[in-house]
């Protein structure tokens, strides 16, 4: 069983009368890439701010690498690298000087790490440039560099692709995959670009209005997101018999309201329709449903 890196139990954060987080139970295991999905104001950044130590919860517990007390959490944050909202820097200092400050704060002995980090995030030529002259994308890269400086065991990234160009997005994705694969870095990543998240995450947490709706692995999500033909007929029993005998498929699900989900013959909806009609069935619906993460998320929160 994998070690738990981060866990919350009934975590609640109140701002006056508003519950930004409402009894959230969340668990991230070592070595996973956790996709944190939710609309604006769902509570993602509040959760990340609590993990980073910017804010404290009103109720509930939070554990980081098995530690729960405030003093232990502070110590354990040395194993954490994070970008909260947009990265924060001293604008009158250069990229290298900003990283030097982070190095001193982290108590890292090796100064070489600064050059290596600038190299990793593609800013080797901009090390001496002052931050006030950096573009949004460059700042985002440097923020990632700052988060990676101590080679953290747990990387928390809040909307890290904001401001990155398409090449930067691909590079970031590859970098995160490599860190996860080669160093076993556990990653929590929140993003609005669900298609991008889907290419990266190995498990997911869906948060809506401060409540954790569901946590599931990539396999579980894929199973739920499978493409299917939605069929509605007058006689479900006869229809399934025809599917089994005439189309040789058992890969279907029967749903209420005389609906069948057929996971087979996806590109052959005409054949399916013709077969059912030829056998005297009345077909009131036949449609292909694409099972993307976006669709799944929208269904989960009750949207269209």
């Amino acid at each position: 069983m994998n070690e738990t890196v981060f866990k919350t139990q009934n975590l609640t954060k109140k701002y006056r009368d508003t519950r930004a987080l409402d009894h959230v139970n969340m668990e991230i295991t070592a070595g996973s890439i956790y996709g944190f999905v939710g609309e604006n104001g769902a509570g993602k950044t509040t959760m990340i701010r609590i993990i980073a130590g910017f804010a404290t919860q009103t109720e509930g517990t939070l554990s980081l690498f098995g530690s729960e007390t405030p003093a232990q959490l502070t110590r354990q944050r040395r194993q954490l690298g994070a970008i909260v909202e947009t990265p924060a820097f001293h604008p009158d200092l250069s990229a290298a000087q900003n990283l030097e400050i982070a190095r001193l704060q982290q108590g890292l002995p090796d100064k070489k790490r600064i050059g290596e980090t600038l190299d990793i995030v593609g800013l080797a030529d901009a090390g001496k440039k002052k931050l006030r002259h950096f573009s949004l994308g460059m700042k985002q890269r440097l923020g990632l560099g700052m988060a990676l400086l101590s080679e953290p065991a747990f990387l928390v990234l809040d909307e890290p692709v904001n401001g990155l160009d398409p090449v930067g997005i691909v590079e970031l994705r590859e970098l995160l995959k490599r860190l996860n694969r080669e160093r076993g870095t556990t990653i929590l990543i929140s993003s609005h670009i669900l298609g991008e998240l889907y290419q990266l995450a190995t498990c997911y947490g869906f948060i809506h209005k401060g409540q954790m709706l569901e946590q599931l692995t990539l396999e579980q999500l894929d199973k739920k997101c499978r493409q299917y033909l939605s069929i509605r007929v007058d006689d479900v029993n006869r229809a399934t018999t025809i599917l089994e005998t005439k189309l040789n498929t058992y890969d279907y699900e029967i749903l209420p309201d005389k609906q069948i989900r057929l996971y087979d013959h996806l590109g052959q909806s005409n054949l399916v329709a013709a077969t059912l009609i030829d056998h005297g069935l009345s077909l009131s619906e036949l449609s292909t449903n694409s099972g993307t993460l976006e669709n799944y998320y929208l269904k989960l929160i009750g949207g269209n």
Binding site: R49, A52, G53, F54, A55, T56, A71, T74, R75, Q76, R77, R78, L80, G81, A82, V84, E85, A88, F89, H90, P91, D92, L93, Q97, E100, I101, A102, L104, Q105, Q106, G107, M146, A147, S150
Partner: protein, 247 residues
Amino acid sequence: MGKLLKSEAIKLLTPWGYKIFLLCSLGIGLLLGVTGVALGGLSGTPMTGYDVLMEFITEPQIVGVMAGIFTSFFIGNEFSHRTFGNAIINGCSRTQIFLAKVIVFMLGLSVILILLPLVATIYVTAIQGFGPINTDILLHILRTIVLTLLGYVTFGSLCVLFAMLIKKPGAISGILIAIFLCLTMFIQLMGASENIIIGQIVRSLFVYQFMLSTHPESVLTYVVVCVVTSIICLTAGLYTFKNTELK
């Protein structure tokens, strides 16, 4: 803690901001020196370097304005740039962050404040001499400098508390300058009051004691007022910082 102090020193010394403060101190110091020479010429009794040192070392208005602006630059900007959060993510406790910030802030503030009267003194000394020097005068100068530095630290403590409460750089400097100027005027107006209670309140105010640091009514009272004010302000500042939700 040593590395955290070093990181604060980089933040203070590397950008242009602090160098500009030093240049301002030099400029204002020179201006005070020129004023000292001119005032001496007008009164017919030339001011010596010693006179200028004693005159300008305890200028609460100048100290208040400089301290307010410096606080906004060194602490307020940390809030507005959201860089306090970086230290927290990097595994430093809020107490460590606060202490490192306060120590470097106090040192930086003391340097720019003491530079003012020193430059004025050097300028006037070069023109009109320092005046007679003996052991008593040297001891008095030494005592005045130590007490004034203690006063600067107390000014700094008040600034730290207000910075932790206000957080916005512009508002920090504006409010601090207004408070120090109003306090100075209040003390000047009420200091001569014959009402025992008002007199006692005014005497217990740190700014009143600071104005007398060259010739305090009682050194013990001066030290107690400064130390108690500093402890109260820094404790309240630390408490506020520990309970602040960072952006």
